[in-house]
């Protein structure tokens, strides 16, 4: 992760407008060779639009795209170098699996035997060597998706584009295929961009995630960066869960009622209106304020309700300091047992300074 791979795809000052509506605003990206990138964001944020611009299917209105050092900004699709897989798979229904996979290989002057061998190799690669003579309609959704992948990879593209490839599948198959696609990508080392609105998918598969919102890039970073150090309230909110409270920032501290919390966040303007965000798993339980001697950022709270979720307890707490707002905390099984936490208990919670995220309100 530390030794940055050489740059393969650059997007510079890219804008896209549909008539009056601006769908993409000043997008800048630099994607390394062999990287697995996810475009993540809510529906309608422009992920597909950006992917289609990269593919040349629906060209950007302004800006440039470089691929492998070449300016491809206004090259037609056929002159670019990529394979694509759509949510619908878009397998040709009247051609067998083998013919589908061979579609990009035929008509290129390759000898027949060569094509056949390559098709067999690809089918083996996606784990479906037995299905060559079947028609797409005779395969399951997951199998169809793998065939679509094999077809896209057949021409050895420098770039693999995936538009929500897994969203039409049921949950179990999806988790399984996630893993397989990631493995395959690592094995082939092909630079990949996948569009998704499923954060789990993005977190588990991507080397780096591009979080998008309303046609702009909110943050680019590794899954841990995105999760642990979200660059904006939107990212914090969209990825994972957070407790949020609105207040003001003063002198490295934020005030909640009678309690004042320290934060390690930098670069927030003095006196700015801010939102404080804390992830549920970052909340530390204590029996009482007194029992947490030495700890800072303490809030007295009442444990209202607990849910056992297998690997941890999900707890709803209330504090006079937060008014009527629920505080959600995920406590480890260990901590619950150690402190003997029960609903109704008056206790204290610690919000560690380095985990208190502060975001200035947007204008």
């Amino acid at each position: 992760m530390s030794n940055k791979p050489e740059s393969y795809l650059q997007i510079k000052e890219l804008w896209k407008a549909f008539g009056e509506f601006v769908a993409l605003k000043d997008i800048n990206l630099d994607i390394g060779k062999g990287e697995f990138i996810c475009f993540l964001g809510p529906s309608g944020c422009g992920k597909t639009t950006l992917l289609r611009a990269v593919a040349g299917l629906d060209p950007q209105t302004r800006g440039q795209i470089f691929q492998g050092g070449q300016d491809v900004s206004n090259l037609p699709t056929s002159k670019r170098d990529y394979g694509i897989v759509f949510q619908s798979y878009a397998l040709f229904p009247n051609l067998t699996v083998a013919r589908n996979v061979a579609f990009g290989l035929e008509n290129t002057g390759r000898p027949k035997a060569d094509i056949k061998a390559r098709v067999a190799e690809l089918l083996a690669l996606v784990g479906l060597p037995e299905q060559a003579e079947k028609y797409p309609a005779q395969l399951s959704g997951g199998q169809q998706q793998r065939i679509a992948l094999a077809r896209a990879l057949a021409i050895n593209p420098g770039l693999l584009l995936l538009d929500e490839p897994l969203s039409a599948l049921d949950a179990k198959v999806r988790v399984h295929l996630r893993h397989e696609i990631k493995e395959l990508q690592r094995k082939l080392g092909v630079t990949t961009i996948m569009v998704t609105h499923d954060q789990e998918e993005a977190l588990s598969m991507a080397d780096r995630i591009v979080v998008m919102n309303h046609g702009t890039v909110e943050q680019i970073g590794t899954p841990t960066e995105i999760y642990r150090a979200p660059a904006s309230l939107f990212v914090a909110d969209f990825i994972g869960e957070t407790n949020k409270v609105a207040t003001t920032y003063q002198n490295g501290r934020v005030t909640l009622g009678s309690v004042s919390l320290t934060t390690k966040m930098q670069g927030v303007a003095e006196g700015a209106a801010v939102t404080v965000a804390v992830r549920p798993e970052d909340v530390v339980p204590h029996l009482s304020t007194a029992a947490a001697a030495g700890a800072a950022n303490l809030l007295p709270a009442r444990l209202m309700d607990m849910e056992f979720l297998g690997s941890y307890w999900r707890c709803h707490l209330q504090s006079d300091i937060l008014g009527g707002q629920d505080l959600i905390a995920n406590f480890s099984i260990n901590a619950v047992r150690r402190l003997d936490l029960k609903p109704g208990l008056e206790m204290a919670v610690e919000l560690p300074a380095e985990r208190v995220l502060v975001f200035a309100e947007r204008a």
Binding site: L57, R62, S73, N74, I84, A90, P93
Partner: protein, 667 residues
């Protein structure tokens, strides 16, 4: 916050690759086809309707000498005409080839006299002929009397609404409008009523023989619209065996036209209404039942509103079919004039093309109106369709099912009956005197009308229309549906593809005369050939095929093209390998539709055939016109057999394809 306004600068456009160029070329070729085969002829016709030709006597001056050769004062032709009242205003109006003899203005004229004549134009454009030489000069020209008798004035062209004015001030012409509207209204009410009953029975009852009835309901499509007219003449005509049933009324006229119209429009209305009824929602009926609504009330509050779009659409389609039909009124209309007949008479009878154009434009109005309403209604119906939920399941109701059976039986008897009468009439020696059977009426070479050659010509036309038409229509629809970019171009294309539906066949045929028979047109060479018949027929029936193709193409995944181009495959490879095979059933449907219609159509081709491209459907018309009704019936039946055979082949082919493709369609 980042600026949300697009920075200034040019929009990025992709370079054209070979694929893009080929696509554009394809689209241009087909758009060009539609422009040449449709837009330009219509434009030619429209402009023709505003052109009048008349002799403008103000433009000429004459001088006559005495015996000694001294010329008298110059007099304008208009002044002479005013004094002598030689020509009425009506006589001065003429067509583009009008000629007016100059000598008529000089009652004492004798070509043997020694008098001399001088004439000149008083304006720039004052054409006249000396024999065959066209003169157009403001200089005085001198002629001896023998030459002067060969002088004819030529009309000048002017543009304006004069023709329309004349049309509407002519009571005979105007009554055609009333007649046409009357016939169309009555036929529409009867057809929609009958078709609704039939479709209702098919969809809402559990009567027996549904398959048979569906088949019979489609039979009228297989014959020319004038065939029922012939059958009606045999039944109720002057020598008809059931003449007395009419109680003194004549079948020649509105009665015959209306009955025949119900026959030939029935399948169209039935299909539309049946589709509308088939999308009913079972749950609405269950709700009505739980509210204890009576059957009657349910019918008016659930069934009719649910089918209203279908009913409106069927009514407009029927109205248009009847008002633009030419075959039936020609065969059985007698003295009853309708618009379509007026066009024919103006053009074929009186060679008054301009007036024919005027009537065409008038005929265009209801057709265009119907077309617009139909499109609106279709859109609404589609939204009903997508909201469809639980299909209606009819329950057994003995009494009601019996009623349905009776109604369908009666309609089937009407349809099959008329066709059987034709068949019988074609086979008897001499109706109604010698009813022994013979095949002599099938010896078409013994009657005028084109003989067996007309029949083979029709087959040729139908095959060529089916093949070329399907290629053009399907490729055109593909361009509209699957090509990215070029939005404006595709919009125009789509408009052109929808236009033929709004243009009656007669109007199209006449427009072709104006456009292709113009010697200045480089395409003039196809006039009078089979090519122009194929072009006009493909164009005439373009829209239905286009819509069928669009529906099929819309069901194909829109990502096929992007995938193929990412695999660096040209679009035509995808088109041939995937699109066409997947759409094969629709393609077959388009071709059989074109084939059947090419066999039966009369209206456009009646203006365009020549002696060596006579057609079977036109032969039916002409033989009937010449009094050879039995051979006309025989030829009509030949068309029926051919179409029935073609439909059968189509069905077998579709089955085979379906079986072959079942492996990849279903699981």
């Amino acid at each position: 916050m980042s600026d949300t306004n697009l920075p200034s600068g040019p929009n990025v456009t992709l370079k054209l690759d070979r694929d893009g160029i080929i696509k554009r070329a394809f689209m241009a070729v087909i758009a060009l086809y539609l422009i040449v085969a449709l837009a330009l002829p219509l434009y030619a016709m429209l402009s023709k309707s505003f052109v009048t030709y008349s002799f403008d006597l103000d433009r000429y001056e004459f001088q006559v000498s005495d015996d000694a050769g001294t010329f008298g004062p110059a007099q304008s032709a208009a002044a002479i005409n005013e004094q002598l009242a030689v020509f009425s205003d009506g006589q001065l109006r003429t067509s583009s080839d009008g000629r007016l003899s100059a000598t008529a203005l000089f009652p004492d004229f004798s070509f043997r006299s020694s008098l001399k004549y001088r004439m000149r134009g008083t304006e720039e454009d004052a054409p006249y002929l000396v024999g065959l030489d066209l003169q157009n000069t403001t200089e005085w020209q001198e002629y001896d009397s023998n030459t002067f008798r060969r002088i004819n004035l030529r009309p000048v062209k002017s543009v304006g609404v004069q023709n329309y004015f004349e049309y509407f001030s002519n009571p005979a012409m105007f009554s055609s409008i009333q007649n046409s509207v009357f016939i169309a209204l009555v036929s529409t009410v009867l057809t929609v009523g009958a078709a609704f009953g039939f479709a209702y029975a098919l969809n809402r009852s559990v009567m027996r023989f549904k398959g048979f009835f569906k088949l019979v309901a489609m039979m009228p499509i297989l014959v020319p619209s004038l065939l029922p007219g012939i059958a009606l003449i045999y039944l109720f005509g002057n020598q008809g065996m059931l003449k007395s049933v009419l109680m003194g009324h004549s079948i020649y006229g509105p009665i015959g036209i209306v009955i025949g119209s119900v026959f030939f429009t029935f399948p169209h209305a039935m299909l539309i209404i049946s589709t509308a009824l088939s999308i009913a929602d079972q749950r609405q009926y269950e709700a009505a039942e739980s509210l204890r609504a009576s059957r009657w009330r349910t019918f008016w509050t659930v069934t009719i509103p649910g089918a209203r779009y279908g009913l409106i659409s069927a009514a407009f389609v029927t109205f248009t079919l009847v008002i633009t039909d030419f075959g039936l009124p020609k065969v059985i209309g007698g003295q009853y004039n309708v618009l379509a007949i007026d066009i024919y008479k103006q053009v074929i009878g009186q060679q008054n093309f301009e007036m024919g154009a005027v009537v065409s434009v008038i005929l265009l109005i209801p057709a265009v109106l119907a077309f617009i309403v139909d499109r609106q209604v279709q859109k609404k119906q589609v939204s009903l369709l997508s909201a469809r939920s639980v299909p209606y399941q009819p329950k057994v109701n003995k009494q009601f099912d019996m009623l349905c059976l009776l109604w369908c039986g009666a309609m089937a008897m009407f349809i099959v009956g008329l066709i059987l009468v034709c068949q019988y009439a074609a086979l008897v020696q001499f109706w109604p005197y010698d009813l022994s059977l013979s095949l002599k009426n099938y010896d078409f070479n013994r009657t005028d009308g084109g003989g067996w050659a007309a029949y083979t010509n029709s087959i040729k036309l139908a095959l060529m229309t089916a093949v070329f038409g399907t290629v053009i229509v399907f490729t055109g629809a593909y361009m509209v549906e699957k090509i990215d970019g070029l939005k404006a171009g595709r919009g125009v294309f789509q408009f052109l593809a929808m236009l033929p539906m709004a243009v009656p066949g007669m109007v199209l045929g006449l427009a072709y005369i104006f456009f292709f028979n113009d010697p200045a047109n480089p395409l003039n060479a196809i006039y009078g050939t089979m090519t122009i018949l194929v072009v006009s027929t493909v164009t005439h029936f373009y829209t239905v095929g286009h819509l069928t193709a669009l529906t099929a193409l819309k069901q194909i995944d829109g990502e096929f093209e992007p995938v193929a181009s990412s695999l660096r495959q040209p679009f035509y490879r995808l088109f041939v390998r995937v699109t066409v095979p997947v759409c094969l059933p629709a393609i077959l449907d388009i071709s059989i539709y074109l084939f059947v219609n090419a066999m039966t159509t009369v209206s456009a081709v009646v203006f365009l055939y020549s002696t060596h491209t006579a057609l079977a459907s036109v032969a039916v018309l002409n033989m009937d016109d010449a009094g050879d009704i039995a051979p006309a019936a025989a030829m009509g039946m030949m068309i029926f057999y051919t179409n029935a055979g073609a439909r059968l082949l189509h069905m077998l082919a579709s089955r085979r394809i379906l079986r072959k493709t079942q492996s990849w369609r279903g699981r």
